[in-house]
């Protein structure tokens, strides 16, 4: 990069750009951008701040007009907000991505074998690699799944794992989302918007495309159809318009050209699932469900659910319909089980894990628990079954009262919590108040697993938009940015 350009860019707020122990996605050190960020910096340097603001505004409007919003809803008034996003892409060079891709493929393959094993022979439990009590005490373990054959032995067809980057630059897995991961629609729409805002930059970079995600999702679902159903009818099952991810459900259904159904649209008869249409009942073969296990069938699971379909589980057990994901997959993304994933990979695949875990303390082990209780102020404590940034204590940002509250809860139910060191995960530059400011980011790639594993390059980069915040969840003030995986 020429020094003249760097100076022009300096004029908008770069001197305040914070670089410390955390890995910075753009800079190796102050004034030393990483090679793959240089074209972006040059482009920014050539654009006046006004122009960037104008483009940002155009992008916001485009999202709002397309209705790419999430809803804060009450009957009296309807308000819809766009999901906050940042203008600057997060750029990942191809060799880094290849590593991540191999690592995720390995991990998902192993977790799927694990699910098959614990719901059938239970070899890994018999061999003492994973303690039985961790599996059987998990509230997402479904004994109804014991001995049940699932098509192609695929339990987890759609996965979104959360990765973070350590100060060393290494990607590690923070958690696996094996139930109903969301956010992929934001990945797709972010990309569309970015193409409109920075067309030249796109050409210059050679960014790997992600547009084929919905098509890949459809063929993954099709590959899981029950045997003998050559032209399967596939539907997306949504909890309905009051769900905060309803936009995504509608978006994916439309992009795939399949029906968006709710529980009340489906009926079962003689263990076959039908949807009610104006032309009569139509048989359903594959259900991409975005409803949690608990609510999906009032006969098999929670009886008070009104979102579900009575008899669905029996139809599933009879092999007449496929659900993606299968029931009971939550046992493998339990945060306590998480610490066993490296051993699981080793056990089934006889390979060392390509992607590592974050160090994790299990609180039902007395020694580890004591250590954690003494160091609550420096650790992150998470409830094992929660997601979305709920049920979490971030030690360094907590008050004494909150720590006391968690101490009490941990002692009352140690199996329900884990602790991890507070990691200052990597930061990426964001366009905030007319300048560049670093914010913490994670990465959620979306993995599809049917007849083969498909990972669209990139995924959703989530940003903790509040300065210094480590929480990236959209429900907690997070935003997102487009993720570019480069061709070379």
């Amino acid at each position: 990069m020429g020094s003249a350009e760097l100076r022009r860019f300096d004029s908008f707020a770069l001197p305040n750009y914070l670089i410390d122990g955390a890995y910075d996605e753009m800079f190796e050190a102050i004034g030393q951008p990483r090679e793959h960020y240089v074209p972006l910096l040059e482009t920014l340097a050539a654009l006046p701040a006004d122009e960037i603001r104008r483009r940002k505004h155009a992008a916001d409007l485009s999202l709002l007009n397309q209705g790419i919003t999430f809803t804060v809803y009450g009957r009296e008034e309807g308000t819809e907000r766009i999901f906050p996003y940042d203008l600057l892409p997060r750029i990942i060079p191809s060799e880094e991505w290849n590593h991540v891709e191999r690592g995720l493929t390995q991990r998902i393959t192993a977790l799927n074998l694990f699910l098959r094993d614990i719901y059938n022979e239970g070899r890994i439990l018999a061999d003492g690699i994973v303690p039985r009590e961790i599996v059987y005490s998990c509230k997402h373990f479904r004994r109804q799944m014991r001995g049940l054959q699932v098509p192609r032995n695929v339990y987890i067809a759609v996965v979104g794992s959360d990765l973070i980057r350590l100060p060393s630059g290494e990607f590690v897995v923070l958690e696996d989302n094996l139930r109903v991961p969301s956010g992929v629609s934001y990945m797709l729409t972010n990309r569309r918007v970015m193409k409109r805002i920075f067309p030249q930059l796109f050409q210059r970079y050679g960014v790997r495309p992600i547009e084929h995600y919905t098509q890949a999702l459809l063929s993954t679902l099709r590959s899981l159809a029950p045997e003998g159903r050559a032209e399967p009818t596939i539907v997306l099952l949504s909890p309905g318009v009051f769900n905060s991810a309803y936009f995504e459900h509608a978006y994916l259904a439309r992009q795939m050209g399949i029906e968006l159904v709710e529980g009340r649209d489906l009926v079962t008869h003689d263990n076959i699932v039908y949807m009610r249409t104006t032309t009569g009942l139509r048989r359903v073969d594959v259900i991409y469900r975005r409803v949690d296990d608990d609510f999906i069938d009032p006969l098999a699971f929670r009886a008070d659910s009104v979102l579900g379909v009575a008899g669905l589980f029996n139809a599933y057990r009879a092999g007449n319909v496929t659900l993606a994901n299968a029931f009971g997959t939550g046992v493998a993304d339990d945060k306590a089980l998480y610490s066993y994933v490296p051993k699981i990979v080793k056990y089934y695949l006889e390979e060392d894990p390509i992607l590592n875990n974050l160090e994790t303390y299990l609180l039902n082990d007395p020694a580890q628990r004591d250590h954690v209780l003494e160091n609550l102020g420096s650790l992150v404590v998470k409830a094992v079954g929660e997601s979305g940034g709920y049920g979490m204590l971030i030690g360094p940002h907590s008050t004494a009262a909150q720590r006391e509250e968690f101490r009490r809860r941990i002692i009352a139910d140690p199996r329900n919590y884990i602790a991890q060191p507070t990691i200052s995960f990597s930061r990426a530059p964001c366009f905030i108040d007319d300048g560049l400011a670093p914010r913490h980011v994670d990465l959620r790639p979306y993995v599809l697993f049917g007849d083969k594993v498909t990972i669209v390059p990139g995924g959703l980069t989530r940003v903790a938009l509040r300065r210094g915040s480590l929480v990236v969840n959209s429900s907690q003030g997070g935003g997102s940015k487009d993720t570019w995986v480069l061709n070379r």
């Binding site: 009957r75 008034e77 649209d265 008869h269 009942l281």
Partner: protein, 320 residues
């Protein structure tokens, strides 16, 4: 098409038609009130309430503006314009993927316009401007619907909802007026009664169209003939039933071998009765029960639509 989606489209459309009808009736009657003595005002407003199906908890209080306010803004009253538009939007929201974004924006804008209307205005004025803007908003929605949505099954269900609501509304208005005024049938109306007939025609946007056909001599029998049997005027019962049956036939066609024959028969019989009936025959019989009969048949058609397309039992569906 999913039954639920058809149901949502049908009710979205019915609720908007209902809101339009209510807005027009209120506007017309508030306007007529300015010309009148208080005794006829009482009768008129009791009739207005009856025409709107005697909304729950709403008795005639003697204060037309207070009643009009409730019927317009009270979201706890299910018949109010606000409630109807909220329900229409609620239905539209659940099928956002089925309707065009222009349609959604229209109905959404209408909702915000009604829900956020500034009620700090004094209660004894209900601006005609507001009621007219509601009617205009609904007309815009209908125009946008016709020009931006594919005229497939979903659009046909919208037609069904609109015309079944309209036919019932016009028929029940005729029924009420008949009960009160048809004693002196045959004679041209005069004086205060003349105002009532204008009120009836305007409530169906039919005053100008009537004058074009029969001049401004308001003859009750001709008014009945016009609002009941005219094949060209969009708010006439016959016209509405014609459109209703056309839409039902189109839906029936999409369904292929579906056993919709009871529905075809119900709608066809009603259409034939209106299409081939003569006003002299109808007048020589019991007009009141003829009009009541139309209302019953509309209700039967509604129930049959549900039985065939939306709420059918699994057994019949599998057998068919």
């Amino acid at each position: 098409m999913l039954s639920r989606v058809a149901d949502n489209l049908y009710w979205m459309s019915r609720y908007l038609e209902r809101a339009e009808h209510t807005a027009r009736i209120l506007d017309v009657n508030l306007n007529l009130m300015l010309d009148e003595s208080s005794s006829s005002v009482d009768r008129r407003w009791q009739r207005v309430l009856a025409a709107l199906g005697n909304p729950l908890d709403l008795a005639w209080s003697g204060d037309a503006y207070q009643v009009a306010h409730v019927l317009t803004f009270d979201s706890s009253n299910r018949s109010s314009i606000t409630s109807c538009i909220t329900s229409a939007r609620e239905n539209a929201r659940q099928v956002r993927e089925e309707i065009s974004s222009e349609q959604w924006q229209r109905v959404n804008r209408l909702f915000h316009q009604v829900a956020h209307y500034n009620l700090t205005e004094s209660l004894d004025v209900l601006p005609s401007e507001f009621l007219l803007s509601v009617i205009e908003g609904i007309h815009l929605f209908q125009g946008v619907t016709d020009s931006t949505m594919g005229h497939g099954e979903g659009w046909q269900f919208i037609q069904v909802g609109r015309y079944i609501e309209r036919a019932s509304a016009t028929a029940s208005l005729l029924n009420l007026y008949h009960r009160e005024f048809w004693g002196q049938a045959g004679n041209p109306a005069e004086g205060s009664e003349y105002l009532e007939w204008i009120g009836l025609l305007r409530s169906c946007t039919a005053f100008e169209a009537y004058c074009k056909t029969y001049t401004a001599d308001l003859n009750p029998d001709r008014i009945l003939e016009f609002l009941l049997l005219n094949p060209e005027f969009p708010h006439a019962v016959r016209y509405s039933i014609d459109c209703l049956q056309t839409a039902l036939d189109a839906i029936h066609g999409e369904g292929g071998k579906r056993r919709a024959s009871p529905l075809t028969r119900l709608a066809g019989r009603l259409r034939a009765s209106l299409g081939f009936g003569q006003i002299s025959e109808i007048l020589s019989e019991d007009v009141g029960s003829y009009l009541q009969g139309i209302l019953y048949q509309c209700r039967d058609i509604h129930e049959m639509i549900y039985q065939i397309y939306i709420n059918y039992s699994i057994q019949t569906a599998l057998a068919g």
